[in-house]
């Protein structure tokens, strides 16, 4: 007689919850989604990955030696080759498919030298960035977390910010060269020297940002909660503080790569960096400036590669900053 109404859903009367169609996203998935919408950042990432892979894998595919000088007869025959594209406007140019980007004045292959130089430049950039971030985070966390150290460490930061860094890097790069070269060999010594100098002179911004963030986080309830259940200071820093300051650190890390690459190239350009037979992009550029009217490609290629790497890294950093901090999006 009474046909039963279909069984009412459990929450009849209340607004029905839409069933989630997608699994919940983590914070980093959100960041990645935001990052992907920044076209410049994606282009920067692609370009940077391309350059890094090019210089990392390139030498295995293109096996010409970047440093070996061929025997004299070959050298005279093969030196000062122009890049292959020169044929487009100058059919009489000395070119060869064996050296697509030409050779230098000692008949070394330009493409191989660019790849080798890129390896060094990017390795210096990444290592120096890592050192600078490590120092900056360490000092920032110490200053923010330990009250007694705050004053002295921040005065130290101020002092470093007041030092004229480029002149001091130049002086120091001459001073410690011999000592380090004696221990680690001429190339290894200079590598350690350049990385250490750049790292030691570029941690201040990171330290300031990290300290500020740590100071603010320290007053939050979750830190109090962690302290009240007896978390040791070490775990408090590693598990609760550091994960929360990781986004500004990541941004300064990306921008730090750009600064490190530029500083290394400037050092090499001024003749205070790697030895002449050990190519880096800055060194290649410096060596070719004197004859750039005859062989402009030897200036343009290393210069372009430095600029493109730095540009891509800067765009990457911009996108990362926007993705990690939605409040400043679009600036």
């Amino acid at each position: 007689m009474t046909d039963k109404a279909p069984a009412a859903p459990l929450n009849a009367g209340a607004l029905p919850d839409p069933m989630p169609t997608r699994p919940p996203r983590s914070q980093w998935q959100d960041v990645w989604r935001q990052f992907r919408s920044h076209k410049g950042a994606m282009a920067g990432l692609a370009l940077f990955v391309f350059i890094v892979l090019g210089v990392a894998i390139g030498p295995w595919i293109w096996s010409a030696s970047p440093t070996d000088i061929p025997p004299v007869v070959d050298m005279i025959k093969n030196r000062d080759m122009r890049p292959i594209y020169t044929l487009l406007w100058d059919s009489g140019a000395k070119t060869s498919w064996a050296h697509p980007l030409g050779t230098d004045n000692l008949a070394r292959d330009n493409l191989a030298r660019l790849m080798f130089g890129g390896r060094v430049s990017i390795a210096v950039g990444l290592t120096a960035m890592a050192l600078s971030i490590l120092l900056g985070t360490l000092i920032g966390v110490m200053a923010g977390y330990v009250k007694k150290l705050d004053g002295p460490l921040m005065r130290l930061t101020d002092l470093f910010l007041a030092l004229p860094l480029l002149p001091l890097i130049l002086v120091a790069s001459l001073m410690f060269r011999e000592a380090l070269a004696a221990t680690f060999g001429p190339e290894g010594g200079v590598f350690i020297l350049v990385v250490a100098l750049i790292g030691i002179t570029s941690w201040m911004q990171t330290a300031r940002i990290v300290r500020g963030d740590v100071l603010a986080l320290k007053e939050r309830e979750f830190i109090l909660a962690a302290q009240s259940i007896g978390t040791s200071p070490r775990n408090l820093i590693l598990r609760h503080l550091l994960p929360n300051v990781v986004s500004p650190i990541m941004v300064s890390a990306t921008l730090g790569i750009a600064i490190a690459i530029i500083t290394e190239s400037s050092l090499s350009f001024l003749g205070f960096g790697f030895p002449p037979d050990f190519p880096t992009w800055g060194r290649l550029l410096n060596d070719s400036v004197d004859r750039m009217t005859l062989y402009p490609e030897r200036v343009i290629w290393p210069g372009m590669l430095i600029s493109l790497t730095v540009l891509s890294v800067n765009y990457l950093g911009d996108g990362l900053r926007d993705a990690l901090d939605p409040r400043i999006r679009g600036r």
Partner: protein, 335 residues
Amino acid sequence: MLTFTIRRLTLAVPTLLFISLVIFLLLELAPGDPMAQMPLTIPPEVREQMRVALGLDQPWPVRFWKWCVQFFWIEPQVLIDHIFGTSFSAGDPRVVSWQTRSPVMDTVIQRMPQTLWVVGVAYVVGILIAIPIGIYSAYRQYSIFDQAGTFVTMVGYSVPPFFTGPLVIMIFAVQMGWFPSLYDTTHKVVDWASFKEQLHQMFLPVMVLATQITAQISRFMRAAMLDNLHQDYVRTARAKGLGETMVVMVHVVRNSMIPVVTVIALGVPSIFGGAIITEQVFKVNGIGQLLITAIQANDLPMVQTLTFIFAVLIVLFNLIADVLYGLLDPRIRYD
């Protein structure tokens, strides 16, 4: 404000003294021998006498004290003597370069105009270009102009001067032949024609330096404008019927200039540092070039003095930036 300035100035003195000590100790560690360039035929005892003549036989605290006295006490006297024709400093030992055996400050004064001409003009030009770009890109955010401007400033920010330098030399000096590739420092400005000549030869180095400055400052200007454009006082200004030019160019720009002015002040010392490379590219024999040659020749008094001058610039312009910030923005109170 005055008390703040005075407090900061008195605080700057120990800071600078400490910095000069740090620089001195760093140079003290340098294993380089200032006698290394001398001929090998000089007998050891003469060599030893020469070391004594340079004052190298004394322990470092004594030498540091001497440098301090010479730099902070005698050099200002020399300056006063030079201006007023007095003779306070007659016979007092000055900071002497090991390369040229002439007083360091004399060389610095000789080199200063070259650097100031190039760096100063580039800074002014850069700012003059950057501010309109920043204003317009922020006002038309996400327009074609803004996108292009942001891209160009990003490029200008990323391309190092040691690449743009040779590039503009190659294009404008070699291919086109419009400008000289080298900077002739012996050129004297006496009349209109020579002034034009000076502008002509300054064009390329100024262009390279100004590109970088423009890139940095227009980014800042844009961000500062964006911060202000959406604030309530702008809406109020529009609501009471002010013209758009008035709103943007007077209300918003004035408020946006506050952080930008401090950034401009803070940037001055780093521009001197950056000019080291530009001077090297265009062979301008200014301060930066002097520093490079002094470092290579192990001329420690020269390096010490020049580096210290750079440090003074940094501390001074930090102070200026702080004071300007307080003067321009009445909400900021330091005391």
